[in-house]
């Protein structure tokens, strides 16, 4: 393989690939980045066996001979970063590589490219197209609700569902559930498909599609692939069953409060200051035009915060209590100025809605 590359393009792509490499993997081949080149393009591949990344470069690459190489990620990344010249020549003989500029030359020992697990590539057909910013928003509004360390491993991931023109992301930890909906912009829909994607991959996708305008998504039997420009993110899927989330979303809530998002967030934050491990609950008392949030921690004291709210559904005073941290988590990610909180009774889940595209269910807590 012999390629004359634009150094900064190659270096940026390499850093992106390095974000996935496990530098302390017990399998030395996995500490490497694989470089493949054909006449037309140069591809960088990296995987930590959970997620993978594939960066395709066409601009600034002058390939005189195709081939492949498996090179130690952190070393090559550091060299490319440190070099100052505009161009760098990469030549590969068998498993070792030479990086050369006008003033420097690095001979690097590589590994056998055949020992690198192949990272699935984006397929030719059946991709769903989404707006990148919309997808990032959906990820941000669901990912925090995934479980950590749950014995039911499926809850540690985010459920993807693509159904015709609609894309849904769902996350739950058993105490709360977040459902974000989005519209497909185009592409061929593959009928109804679903997959559970580990949280780590979701974070990587959110980070990697920042600069893109649109992304394409493919859900396969064993993997999820997200393509944004020259980058393809690969993720393995969780082999498990996601709870039937539709059943969790209450449909008979007859009480409704319209709340200013920022004011509510601030009020919950204040009220949460006097809660502790044992009494982790803030009581919400609704009146016609007013919401009172109160909390109490034994041996610490009590807090009471009042804010304006429009409440309908009953003329009586209505009490319900929630874990304030769950409320804070959701209020932080809601983009709109107002949210609606729908309720049934003090022991039924509360429903926070933002328009038609975001639903969040929170289980209430009992406080005496």
């Amino acid at each position: 393989m012999k390629v004359v590359c634009d150094r900064s393009i190659l270096s940026d792509a390499f850093q992106m690939a390095l974000g996935v490499v496990n530098a302390r993997s017990p399998k030395p081949a996995l500490q490497c980045v694989k470089i493949e080149s054909t006449k037309k393009e140069v591809r960088l591949l990296a995987t930590d066996l959970e997620v993978g990344i594939r960066v395709s470069l066409t601009e600034g690459m002058d390939v005189s001979q195709g081939g492949e190489a498996l090179l130690p990620g952190d070393r090559v990344g550091a060299i490319l970063k440190e070099l100052t010249s505009e161009k760098v020549t990469l030549a590969v003989e068998e498993t070792s590589a030479v990086l050369e500029t006008e003033d420097s030359r690095f001979a690097i020992m590589g590994d056998n490219p055949a020992s690198f697990p192949s990272v699935p590539d984006f397929g030719k057909d059946g991709a769903t197209e989404l707006e990148a910013e919309a997808l990032r928003g959906m990820i941000r509004r669901t990912i925090f609700a995934t479980a950590r360390e749950a014995a039911r491993y499926a809850l540690n991931g985010v459920l993807w569902e693509i159904d015709g023109k609609e894309v849904r992301l769902v996350a739950t930890d058993g105490h709360r559930l977040a459902l974000a909906k989005g519209e497909c912009k185009g592409g061929k829909s593959a009928g109804k498909v679903s997959a559970i994607v580990p949280t780590k991959a979701m974070q990587l996708i959110e980070r990697s599609i920042q600069d893109a305008e649109t992304v394409e998504v493919q859900i396969g039997e064993k993997e999820l692939l997200v393509k944004a420009g020259r980058v393809v993110i690969y993720s393995r899927l969780v082999d498990g069953h996601f709870p039937k989330y539709e059943d969790v979303i209450p449909k008979d809530s007859d009480k409704k409060a319209k709340l200013d998002t920022a004011a509510m967030l601030s009020a919950v934050r204040k009220a949460s200051l006097l809660t502790n491990e044992e009494s982790r609950g803030v009581k919400l008392t609704f009146r016609a035009k007013q919401l009172v949030l109160s909390s109490r921690a034994p041996e610490m004291g009590e807090a009471k915060v009042t804010m304006a709210a429009e409440f309908e559904g009953t003329d009586d005073e209505f009490d319900v209590a929630f874990n304030p941290y769950f409320l804070i988590d959701v209020l932080k990610v809601v983009a709109g100025e107002t949210v609606t909180l729908q309720l049934k009774s003090a022991n039924k889940p509360g429903l926070i809605r933002e328009g038609n595209h975001y639903v969040h269910v929170i289980m209430p807590v009992n406080i005496l």
Partner: protein, 368 residues
């Protein structure tokens, strides 16, 4: 036979082969047997066959299944980088297998955890295999975090637990895996392998093999730690030693164990060094006990006795003639008891001094 490489484990090989040939492979195996007798090798062979794309079946009285050795899955297995074969073991610097290896936590190492390895869909092959060495060293919280995964591992996810004893395995884990027993290897086989791998002479290799309890791992460890030199010194000094000389021998033993521990540790952590020193002290106690054991065997079985110290038969005979069998038995019991004290963290130097003094007192009739 695909398990031909697995020598001197006929029942284990037959059980695995039968399960593979009948395509009735249980989702979890527990390989139980002494360290260094082929459990890891068997796990590797099993995984290779399960992951292979084109396994070769042989018909006959005993149908066989073997990996083809040439498909991409086999090549990745041989390179040690197959993404669907994940191997976990107790870290060298830890006294137990921590929960951070089982489920993802803040202090988890980068890369897959055990639960992820089991629950993620395979990356390349049709199934995936997770091998856990030292599975009995899981602490209670790790075992509990693992249990749910173990009970409900998805279809096509195979687990192999390698243990040296079933005692410390949770009963709930023990009862959910198919047990395959591995036996100690014949001394001659261990000696041949040792001579081949270390370049030791046949006689020396034979001595170490007899001290190895049929474990290649232990024989190799003894070869690495200059056990032969220690044995030479102890056998020369012990029969003539009074109480004062016994203390000199104890010093030499302590010095040997500490030196070996210092040289062999790889993590620079005290936990590992102490563990290594304790292991070496147990081998030294083995050595003293072996003399008494041999004398006891020689006294009862006569000239055909199978002695550990076959090359020191005159000394063994002298002990057998001068000491009564019940004294030998008591002494032997004491040496075994001291070994358990080593694990219970009794002051090492005092323990070894006591053992040497006891031996000197016991062997007093040998002195003129």
């Amino acid at each position: 036979m695909s398990f031909a490489e697995l020598q001197h484990q006929p029942s284990a090989a037959a059980a695995l082969e039968a399960a593979l040939a009948a395509e009735r492979v249980p989702h979890a195996f527990i390989f139980c047997g002494p360290a260094g007798v082929g459990k890891a090798l068997a796990a590797r062979l099993l995984a290779r066959t399960l992951l292979c794309e084109r396994p070769k079946t042989g018909r006959g009285k005993h149908p066989t299944v073997a990996a083809c050795g040439s498909c991409p899955q086999c090549l990745l297995c041989d390179a040690g980088t197959h993404p669907d074969l994940n191997w976990f073991a107790k870290p060298a610097d830890r006294a137990e297998l921590p929960i951070s290896l089982v489920t993802r936590r803040d202090d988890s190492p980068q890369g897959l955890t055990i639960n992820e390895s089991v629950q993620l869909k395979p990356m390349q092959a049709a199934c995936r295999v997770t091998v856990i060495e030292d599975a009995e060293e899981m602490n209670a919280s790790a075992a509990n975090a693992f249990l749910k995964t173990f009970e409900e591992s998805p279809q096509g996810s195979y687990l192999v637990l390698l243990v040296t004893s079933l005692d410390t395995l949770l009963p709930t884990i023990r009862s959910r895996g198919q047990l395959v027993r591995f036996r100690s290897l014949p001394h001659r086989f261990v000696a041949d392998l040792l001579a081949r791998d270390t370049g030791l002479g046949a006689d020396e290799a034979a001595v170490l093999a007899r001290f190895s309890e049929g474990s290649i791992q232990r024989a190799a460890a003894l070869a690495r730690s200059d056990f032969l030199a220690l044995r030479r010194d102890v056998l020369a000094a012990l029969p003539a030693a009074g109480r004062a000389e016994a203390l000199v021998i104890a010093d030499a033993v302590m010095e040997w164990a500490s030196r070996q521990a210092g040289e062999q540790q790889t993590t620079g952590k005290k936990v590992e060094e102490n563990e290594l020193r304790r292991t070496h002290l147990k081998r030294a106690l083995d050595l003293m006990g072996s003399l008494l054991r041999d004398a006891l065997v020689a006294a009862t079985a006569g000239p055909e006795a199978d002695l550990i110290n076959a090359d020191a038969t005159p000394l063994v005979q002298r002990i057998a003639q001068r000491l009564a069998p019940d004294a030998l038995e008591r002494g032997l019991r004491r040496m075994i008891e001291y070994q358990t004290y080593v694990d219970r963290n009794v002051h090492n130097a005092l323990l070894i001094e006591n053992a040497c003094l006891h031996m000197a007192d016991l062997l007093a009739p040998l002195r003129p």
